[in-house]
């Protein structure tokens, strides 16, 4: 038996009604012009290299993804999204080829050598990501000269 509503509609309704973390203010960083900006992708699809460490359920840590490593495993623990799309074309989740093309065209300054992956299915309070792994990942990107982060979900 299947709910007569589409799976995406059920998910959007359910997740959309859940409490969300609150931030009193929204920080704002002015980037350099796009044609000069160094860009990194951070995805919450729980991607990791085939020879790397898998994500556990509720994993609050992150994985560094070498831009040269394009053979990645989809480690997200949710069944509730179209998992086949990543197998068909990783760029629909992790658009590294598109960033390479934008850099070659001069639209963006450069593509970072390292990108990052978190697991989107986090404990409800996301405190570890907020206070520990998130800032640690940010520090790595700052040290690598990243200006702009493109965030992609699944």
């Amino acid at each position: 038996m299947v709910d007569k509503r589409l799976g995406d509609a059920v998910m959007r309704e359910g997740v959309g009604a859940m409490p969300v973390p609150e931030f009193e203010t929204t920080a704002w960083t002015t980037p350099p012009p796009l044609a000069e900006a160094r860009i990194a992708i951070v995805t919450t699809a729980a991607l990791y290299p085939a020879d790397g460490e898998a994500f556990s359920g509720g994993d609050t840590s992150y994985r560094a993804l070498d831009a040269a490593q394009r053979k990645l495993v989809l480690g997200h623990w949710s069944h509730n999204f179209d998992r086949s799309a990543f197998s068909i074309d990783p760029n629909v989740v992790y658009p590294l080829d598109r960033l390479d093309e934008l850099a070659a065209a001069g639209t963006i300054g450069s593509v970072a050598e390292t990108h990052y992956s978190f697991a989107g299915n986090q404990p409800d309070d996301v405190s570890t990501v907020r206070l520990d792994s998130g800032p640690a990942c940010a520090a790595e990107m700052k040290a690598a000269g990243v200006d702009v982060v493109l965030l992609t979900p699944v």
């Binding site: 038996m1 799976g7 995406d8 920080a27 960083t29 493109l150 699944v154």
Partner: protein, 228 residues
């Protein structure tokens, strides 16, 4: 993801978040959001459509030109998937002494191997590899037939992980078996749960585990939430 946008921006990185669930991103007020009402799992919208993906990125990066925020915009085009099962040729029954799902899983092994060779990677492997899929299905058959789920040998003692490995094995094989274009949104999922012996068995075992009194996460997360 919106939490990360807040954290990164506070650390001095400019962020652009592609949003998949409007009722979350609109309430969390991250600095710059492009909400894309696309099928979940397809944040750039369309696989193998570089022009479309570039258009999404053009709109996303366009938000970086704003002088203040938070900025919340919606991509003009929405995509709603039909979520209908793809058409795949499944192998004929080969060994009638085996449970149908076990026989079926063995029959699609070559398709899985072709898919793995073509992509150079597989997402099967949380607790079993491809060799372990038929055996895992045999265990689910025992459960569906009424065996106590706490005493049978579930690989890794993890119902969710083994369910992922079985489903992923099938969905990766489906990319080699599909008749016509690549699967649409949730098309491979619908095929697995509605058309294959393995998918039907997984749902049946899940129901039995629930009926035997297991805690909700143990059975619920074995499949998509809208399937019973």
């Amino acid at each position: 993801m919106c939490t990360l946008a807040h954290v990164f921006e506070a650390a001095g990185l400019a962020t652009v978040a592609i949003s998949a669930i409007k009722d979350v991103s609109s309430r969390m007020h991250p600095p710059r959001v492009l909400h894309c009402e696309f099928p979940l799992g397809r944040p750039l919208g369309k696989p193998n459509d570089a022009a479309f993906q570039h258009d999404v990125l053009r709109h996303a990066f366009g938000l970086l030109e704003r002088n203040s925020g938070p900025v919340f915009e919606e991509y003009a085009e929405t995509i709603v998937g039909a979520e209908e099962a793809i058409s795949c040729t499944l192998p004929p029954r080969f060994d009638p002494s085996l449970p149908p799902a076990v026989d079926e899983a063995r029959g699609i092994r070559k398709a899985y191997d072709r898919a793995r060779a073509r992509r150079g990677v597989t997402s099967v492997g949380r607790v079993i590899d491809a060799d372990g899929v038929p055996g895992a299905l045999a265990v689910l058959r025992e459960i569906a037939d009424g065996a106590d789920w706490t005493t049978v040998e579930i690989p890794g003692r993890n119902t969710i992980a083994v369910a992922h490995d079985i489903r992923t094995y099938y969905e990766e094989a489906a990319l080699e078996l599909v008749e016509g274009p690549d699967p649409g949104p949730r098309g491979a999922e619908a095929w697995f749960f509605e058309k294959t012996e393995a998918g039907k068995l997984l749902l049946a075992a899940r129901q039995v585990i629930k009926d035997q009194g297991a805690k909700r996460p143990i059975w619920f997360y074995m499949a998509t939430g809208h399937r019973r």
